[in-house]
Amino acid sequence: MKRLLASAAFVAFAASGAVAQTVGFSQIGSESGWRAAETTLTKQQAEERGIDLKFSDAQQKQENQIAAIRSFIAQGVDAILLAPVVATGWDSVLEEAKEAEIPVVLLDRQVDSDKSLYLTAVGSDLVHEGEVAGQWLVDKVAGEPCRVVELQGTTGSSPAIDRKSGFENAIKGHDNIEIVRSQTGDFTRAQGKEVMESFLQAEGGGQDICALYAHNDDMAVGAIQAIKEAGLKPGSDILVVSIDAVPDIFQAMAAGEANATVELTPNMAGPAFDALKAYMESGTEPAKFLQTESKLYTQDDDPSGEYERRKGLGY
């Protein structure tokens, strides 16, 4: 039935021409909850707009993505969305798409190819995310001295590097805030908990820690458990701010155990479809990078409601 409706919509819109009707989406895979949510939201956004989305899961392999794009070109889709698994090696397949006059929009990751080979890239500014988190802490402590421990992402990964430097930018010039310990928690709950335990041991059983900054929510969720097991209250004894806005952190915020999170929106497809529509209807060239909003959520932003809204998205 859904398929019938979709094809009916396809026929109806195909008559009007200009708008993208069939869009191919080459997704990396489903290695994290966030990416599963991105897939779900992309399908939702396509359905809302009456777009026929051809979805291809590459299972973390670039060759699968290249094969998928070639098959999209062969099928004559109107546009292609690509979440590239790596940054290099896209030149020839992007050129093929360009020759076939099919616009390509990159989602959430960048490629090293020439900018003329794709229409635009939709993504989040990782440094800005760190800045939003840092600014929240600056405002929250309002000049009071604050010793911060930091749970970094995987050593050397770009989110870890950028979210660290963004946070440092934000607290620069606020000498009351100081990062006293910083270690990698590999973006995982288990490591987040283990490393937080060692922070607590090293900082007088946690008495000397004023706030925790975690590069993602999963590590924060693990660290919150470590703080509770050490007999302290996360959210009041130790402030907790992290990045991503996954459902579980909203549960923690609703329980008063986390204070703030910065959203890395999985809705990259919405802006991508909007840009495609504008481009196809009136030929407006979008900017080469469309930055998504890094929205700050605190305990005042209806965390239990946010949890309900997100839990069905496949996180």
């Binding site: 489903s30 290695e31 994290s32 909850g33 599963a36 970094q152 050593t155 050397g156 310990r181 910083s182 270690q183 990698t184 590999d186 995982t188 709950r189 288990a190 490591q191 908990k193 283990e194 490393v195 335990e197 060692s198 041991q201 090293a202 059983g205 999963d218 969720v221 693990g222 458990q225 097991e229 050490a230 007999g231 579980d248 549960q251 496949g314 996180y315």
Partner: protein, 341 residues
């Protein structure tokens, strides 16, 4: 006494490490009572060492039969996923544990049959489950982190008995039970016999096939318990990351324990000391507060030093050096002795 002599190198290594970490972090040995439980870096090590410690018990047996089990990390993910799935379906703690152990046992039987009956090399046979197991776990959790709130299961990961963390109790109890089972019966010796020469053991009347299947099953069960502990610890099954690369730490623990990868004689106590040594390094690095870029390099250097010091070749060189030094000293002393006599 013989056990003490067997594990002496590991004990000395652990002692040296503790001194080293204390030099960087003076409060390392501090233990205090918070909310009726013992808290301190040492307790953290005992607790955090649980998954690798449990894996090391099973891995020691497998390695004693001249095998290897690469799948244990993936089995952790599967067992954790199954336990969390059962709990979120309100099946109860007993059913969750039973299902998790059943999953571990099934994985172990699969490995054992591939090795003992089909005759595939252990490293290849267990590689199959190592690569596919995480996928199976993701099918169970549907690719997300399966979070649960069930105090009974969480107790296994973060509870305490008489002030001691439950994971620490679990791995010590498992190790003692397995050691008693193997050493109070002839099982341990039969495993060693199979490891030294499977054909000779079979000719002598040892049912090598059943024994090999049994050790892989034991390894699967140990991994299942480790998976339950890891999942209970973070109150969620993280199929992507639970037990990731932990099989390598378990093998390293067995090797640091002085057990030969070529099978034969084994010591579970020494493997466990190996696991404690690895965890002390990990926790020590965190406590010392180095930048995280150095974590792996520091660990690698320490492990290298430990293995070099334990190397039998080095021991031979050392004894040879001492022997020559003694001969020379005696030769130097002799002429002076002669006038006196």
């Amino acid at each position: 006494m013989t056990i003490l002599r067997r594990v002496a190198p590991q004990l000395l290594t652990l002692l040296a490490l503790v001194l080293l970490v204390t030099a960087f972090f003076p409060e390392f040995l501090r233990i205090e009572v918070v909310n009726g439980r013992l808290v301190g870096p040492v307790m953290d090590i005992l607790k955090r060492g649980a998954p690798v410690g449990l894996l090391a018990v099973g891995m020691t047996l497998v390695i004693a039969t001249r095998g290897i089990d690469l799948s244990v990390g993936a089995v952790i993910a599967i067992a954790g996923a199954v336990a969390a799935w059962a709990i979120t379906r309100d099946l109860g703690l007993a059913a969750a544990l039973a299902l998790a152990f059943a999953a571990g046992l099934a994985a172990g039987l699969w490995n054992g049959v591939l090795v003992a009956i089909v005759g595939i090399q252990p490293i290849v046979a267990t590689l199959i489950l190592m690569t596919s197991g995480r996928g199976i776990a993701q099918l169970v959790t549907e690719g997300r982190i399966l979070t649960f709130s069930h105090d009974g299961l969480a107790f296994l990961g973060s509870g305490a008995v008489l002030g001691i963390p439950v994971p620490a109790v679990l791995w010590v109890a498992t190790a003692i039970a397995v050691t008693l089972l193997l050493r109070r019966t002839a099982l341990g010796m039969l495993i060693e016999a199979v490891g030294v020469n499977r054909n000779a053991a079979a000719l002598a009347g040892v049912n090598a096939t059943v024994l090999i299947i049994a050790v892989y099953s034991a390894s699967g069960l140990c991994a299942a318990l480790a998976g339950v502990v890891a999942t209970a610890d973070i109150r969620g099954a993280d199929s992507n990351n639970a037990g990731l690369w932990m099989e390598l730490d378990a093998i390293l623990a067995v090797v640091i324990g002085g057990n030969s990868l070529l099978g034969g004689r084994f010591s579970i106590a020494a493997s466990l000391l190996g696991a404690l040594i690895i965890q002390t390094i990990d926790t020590g690095i965190l406590l010392a507060g180095f930048p995280s870029e150095y974590n792996l390099s520091i660990k690698a250097v320490i492990v290298l030093v430990i293995l070099v010091l334990q190397s039998p070749n080095l021991m031979h060189h050392w004894y040879a050096l001492r022997y020559f030094a003694m001969r020379r000293r005696e030769a130097a002393l002799d002429p002076r002795k002669e006038p006196g006599t």
